[in-house]
Amino acid sequence: MRTARILATAAAVAILAACGGGGGTTSKPADVVPPQTPTNQGAASPSSTSFKYLANALKGATLAGPVQLGTMKVDVQMNLRDAQGLQSYAAAVGDPSSGLYRHFLTPEELGSRFGATDADWNAAMAYFTAEGLQVTGWKQKSVMRVVGPQAKMEHAFGTTFALYHLRSGDAYGPTALPHFSKPLAVHSVTQIVFNPSWMKRNSVAIAPHGTTPAFNFGIPPQQIAGAFDYTGAYAAGYTGTGVNIGIIGTGPIDSRDYTAFNSRLNAGWYDGSGTFHPTANTITQVNATGTANVNGGALATPPPVTGPCNGPLPGCNPEDFEAQIDTQQTAALAPTANVLFYLAYVPHETFGTTHDFGPREGIQEVNDEVQQAINDNQADILSLSYGLAEQYSDYTLLDETTYDPNGTEPVQFAMLQALGIAVFVSSGDAGAQGCARPFAGTGPGVASPDQPCVSAPAVDQNVTSVGGITAPIDESSHKVGPYTTWGVQTEHGFGATGGGLSVAVPKPAYQVGAGITGTKRNQPDASLDADPATGVAVAVSTAFPGGGFGAAGGTSVAAPEMAAMWALVLDACKKTAACVAKGSGTHPYRMGNAAPAFYKIYNDTTLYPATFLDIVDGNNGVRPCSVNPGQVGPCPNPSPTIDPGFNAGKGYDLTTGIGVPFGRHLIKSVVGV
């Protein structure tokens, strides 16, 4: 029933507009969707003046009028020379039965084997440069970032941009079919149609300490560590030493918060002799500045953070709550790991002075940060805590059901896998309606937010999708109540762990076992604590008035927790010759995506119960907000009923995946020590 519903809904929205021609702000707005052209669909280097973009987002939109965007930024996804080959290679390096298992590449090798051809790359670079735009590229030659004033962008893309009213809020978009003035090997362009609010941080913030009416204080990292046996790994000597965990930043952080976090919560670990050690991380911000900047480069060092404020950059640049969660959870739970915080910043990028309700930096630029991580090849692990509806990412062709292996996200995560970098992505906080997030608005162009769908990039084949549970534990990490799916029992339908079936992404070969259904990607893969009711402590803006400690939940908590646990696994691998011997290159301890290892364990009747706790209770249904179409922000009048969502059950289920890993035993099961 659920699958049928998904397909029916997908079909309903897969209506492509057919009219074409460039237009201006004077084009008939009404319900006209700018024309689309067939995409390149992954073919090798078919130069074309057209490209794929998120045209469907404007379906049913109303043209509201001109928009003043100031500086614009788009990401240009090049046609790869062998997009399917990249996907195949990514699958092989994660398959123990393959001769390529853990034969990881370098960024340069990625570029030369799979990236755009030099000719295509250079042609595109020359085109945008000639248009007076700032262009940034990376070694892997996959994505090209283009930044410039609105007028130059309009000239380069052969269209003007206007403001549209969507049911999910305003967005800017082209008034005519965007195109190049000459053929380029460009596969797709993101942020031609855009609203920053479509990018969801998968976190739920609880008011910080000192705010009224209630003090809310989350679970400190030691208690999470004790509950899920990070402590056993610490005692065995695995604390993440020498492992680099990358955070794809959704906004700025302030390292002083982590200092305060450690100090206030006495963060650290106990070694095997019972001796306490304070955390000993290094947190390094890596600015996504690219390596091939043209015209001065659009990427710049982000401005310093400010205290809580409302106003334009750079004067007002408050810390990002999500980014603080990610950083603090990974660092504290992998207490000797190095944290690389990736942050991209585009000066003066705004959504217009009257429509600047989006984040300041980071969240719009996450793909650029991922590109930087691929380019640098320094992070062994990446933690991502954001998402948007899979139909509105770059995973599908315009029919929204056909997988696009040359899409920006499929390519970048396949590249990360080819480098051996494990990626953990939050599965979303809107339960079975992972794309809708009804309590915080609706997705772009969604006919009805009351539909099951999954969040991207958690849906990717080359990432580990991390869901969430409710984990009632006490100060000593003891379980004081049943562990359940984060869902209706605590959120009463307003939030739940993302989980469900993809409509486009094929089920990867490694995802097999009891309870796994269909031919598409099932998610999540595994889970950790995420329920805001059992949320974790977070320090935000502690150096500024109005800041302090609070609590946070959401799968944005679970993803960095899982990333930290995997850092302990890699630490163990580094210290185990037999494990390192299975790898190759400069990072022989890397294992790539963790999900294949998870499912290998899942299908081992001995290892599974000794590694994962199966979550068998709960449901990830959410309360739809369809009674208020077009609502942006918290749903003021949600539906009185809760959609059923998916039930947790024995073995794999679409709420918590295969369950909750426990650190020390995960190391034993994966590394054998």
Partner: protein, 702 residues
């Protein structure tokens, strides 16, 4: 020195070995003379007395059986051996040769056997003979293990009869060692051998060492050095060291004292004229002290907990089961003088709880005070022998530390004593202080009174304090204003019928925001926050779930402690049962602990950003915790033993005694850990993360 031979007096030459007379045992004496002859006479003698007379040649020997000497009709057999002449060498068959002292002369040799009844009084013997030479005296000797039992016989009218009032009056003839030959002889006056000192002993008792307050009856035994028992001594008993305990002077009934010690139970024959011969027997007392340095115990078992939501959002039961190993070593035992005379003992325990998904280890040090004297600083119930579990300080692998104090300041110090004194709690009470410090700077401090009422203060990393209070009348409050801005109160249950509890919510200003009238979930039998019963059920088979090693037998004394608690602040109704099986001579070999909890208020937020209260009889959550620990091996300071962990279990049971000695410790360790596990499951309010609109709908009645 010569000896007389008269016409009547026949010197009985002792029989040669192997020569038979009248079917008696082989003649034990060898005089070197020609093969002796013998004459035997058997006579049935009634308990009222009688005699048996046997004549061989000119000598007639008569054995007199006094009235009351026999427990019933008996056959008394008297064998007289043919006398020979010199030499004066007596040789017992298979034994050493004994030469009669110079000048002595054998008069008659005989043996006595009694069958069919028990000899209760000594016999007398006489021999018809002639008068000894002037200056000589008659002696009666026996040849048992040594020929040195000498008594004086009185000669009168041709009959020499064993004396009644000198060294060995009423010496039993018949109960002497088998093969004993008696002989009358004479020796010159003034040459009589010194009367050997009788040997007095106190019968050994089992067990020895004896445990604190253990009882045993010592029985004196008086014999000649040759092993001839005295049948009617009057013994008086005493102790070489009065701290060993007490002993009944006339019956020898001993009750061990409370402290370690070793000494002697003295026994004296106070029969007039005997010179108060005395002797004694060793006694060693082992106290209730938890153990001596170096003692070690190894227990294994399982720890299981099951949680299930049954009301708001029902779940399946979720069970987590760990394999447990508990290794305890006594690290020190020191004598102290203050605050009271006693011994302090510290035991270190390492417990490993291995769950399928993680292993939690806990190291703890437990202190015991063992009183050997009294102190004005202590309650009068703290008599010598009291064992106080003063404190357990533990830390687990998650970095949490917990300190449980049972000392006299915070508790009554007694963890378990049987039998209970009068009253519902007896000497045991719920009093204790519990301090927990968690790795993220959380702490809580609970002080529990004797009846289970308590005050707990929780402190977070910001030093905010919340206070939970449970009162004696079962009313309660939870002041979380510094955490959440709210305060809860729970009234004492109203009187039946329709007993209710009023659950109220107040804001920081003290304004009541909500009030719920809830059915009283506290059983009427629970009249205070904690009540305890202890029952000694006597010997019971070990349950199969204990898997007690065969070396500890199949049954043991079953002690059942049941504690019922109502935590009216957090809404927990709890029944905790500890069943201990005490193996005879071993101590606790299996400890089974269960704790069943029904939770009627839910502050865990696992049901959402609200506090739930049950509006009916159905609780919100069920929590069951159980642990079984079974003794696998033990080592005392003297080495490994597989049969006893105890230094002095007084008996196999605790029917009248406190927990046996070192067996006490493992029970305490286990219970301390278990109680912590229970507290963690019922920890209550970790934090107060309530809904932003808490004031209006933060509490929801189911």
């Amino acid at each position: 020195m010569g000896y007389r031979r008269g016409a009547i007096l026949s010197i009985i030459a002792l029989a040669l070995a192997g020569c038979q007379g009248g079917g008696a045992n082989p003649p034990p004496f060898n005089s070197g003379n020609p093969a002796p002859t013998s004459a035997t006479q058997s006579q049935t003698v009634s308990p009222s007395g009688g005699s048996v007379t046997t004549t061989l040649g000119t000598e007639t020997v008569k054995v007199i059986v006094p009235g009351g000497a026999l427990s019933g009709p008996a056959t008394v057999t008297l064998t007289v051996y043919a006398a020979g002449s010199s030499p004066k060498t007596l040789q017992s068959s298979g034994r050493k040769v004994q030469t009669i002292g110079s000048g002595a002369a054998l008069v008659a040799a005989f043996s006595v056997a009694i069958s069919g009844a028990t000899l209760l009084k000594p016999l007398q013997a006489s021999v018809t003979t002639v008068a000894a030479p002037s200056g000589s005296i008659f002696r009666l000797a026996g040849y048992g293990t040594a020929f040195d039992d000498i008594d004086t016989a009185t000669w009168s009218g041709g009959v020499a009869t064993s004396d009644l009032n000198i060294a060995y009056p009423r010496m039993s003839l018949a109960t002497a060692p088998a093969g004993t030959l008696y002989a009358f002889y004479t020796e010159p006056s003034g040459s009589a051998s010194a009367v050997p000192t009788p040997v007095l002993t106190a019968a050994s008792v089992t067990p020895n060492p004896i445990g604190m307050f253990g009882t045993a009856t010592f029985t004196g035994s008086e014999m000649s050095p040759n092993g001839f028992p005295y049948l009617d001594p009057t013994f008086a008993y005493s102790l070489s060291d009065p701290t060993l305990g007490t002993i009944n002077a006339s019956t020898g009934a001993f009750t061990a004292g409370p402290i370690d010690g070793a000494g002697t139970v003295n026994v004296t024959d106070t029969t007039a004229g005997r010179g108060n011969p005395h002797g004694g027997g060793p006694i060693s007392v082992t106290s209730q002290r938890p153990g001596n340095k170096g003692d070690a115990f190894n227990f294994t078992g399982t720890l299981s907990s099951t949680t299930q939501l049954v009301n708001s959002n029902p779940t399946q039961p979720q069970t987590d089961t760990a394999s447990v190993t508990l290794n305890t070593t006594v690290t020190s035992a020191q004598v102290i003088a203050t605050p009271a005379p006693g011994i302090t003992t510290v035991a270190h325990s390492d417990e490993s709880d291995a769950y399928p998904l993680q292993t939690v280890t806990t190291s703890s040090d437990t202190g015991y005070g063992y009183l050997t004297g009294t102190s004005a600083a202590l309650p009068p119930t703290f008599v010598p022998g009291t064992v106080l579990m003063t404190e357990t300080l533990a830390k687990d692998s998650n970095g949490s530390s917990y300190d449980t104090q049972y000392d006299v300041v915070h508790g009554n110090g007694i963890v378990d004593v049987l039998p209970e004194a009068t009253g519902p709690f007896g000497p045991n009470t719920a009093a204790l202080r519990y301090v927990e410090t968690d790795p993220a700077n959380f702490a809580r401090n609970r002080v529990v009174a004797a009846n289970g009422s308590y005050v707990e203060q929780g402190t977070d990393a910001f030093h905010d304090v919340q206070t939970a209070t449970v009162n004696s009348d079962l009313s309660a409050s939870l002041d979380a204003r510094q955490y959440s801005g709210f305060r809860f109160t729970m009234s004492a249950p109203s009187a039946p019928p329709n007993s209710r509890i009023i659950f109220r919510l107040f804001n920081a200003a003290g304004t009541q925001l909500q009030a719920f009238s809830l059915p009283n979930w506290i059983p009427a039998t629970l009249t205070q926050p904690s009540m305890e019963t202890d029952v000694d059920n006597g010997s019971k088979p070990y349950p199969a779930s204990c898997s007690v090693p065969a070396k500890y037998g199949t049954s043991g004394n079953q002690i059942v402690q049941t504690i019922n608690r109502a935590d009216t602040a957090f809404g927990n109704l709890e029944t905790q049962t500890t069943t201990t099986y005490m193996a005879p001579r071993v101590g606790p070999v299996c400890i089974q602990m269960t704790d069943a909890v029904q939770t009627f208020y839910d502050f865990t937020l696992q049901n959402g950003f609200v506090v739930l209260v049950s509006g009916g009889t159905l609780p919100i959550q069920l929590t069951n915790i159980s642990e079984t620990l079974t003794l696998q091996s033990a080592k005392t300071e003297s080495g490994t033993t597989t049969t006893s962990i105890a230094r002095g279990t007084s008996s196999g049971t605790r029917a009248t005694a406190s927990v046996p000695s070192s067996g006490f410790a493992p029970v305490s360790f286990a219970r301390a850990r278990f109680n912590h596990a229970v507290r963690e499951k019922l920890g209550g309010l970790r934090k107060a993360t309530f809904s932003h609109s808490f004031g209006n709908n933060g509490v929801k009645q189911l």
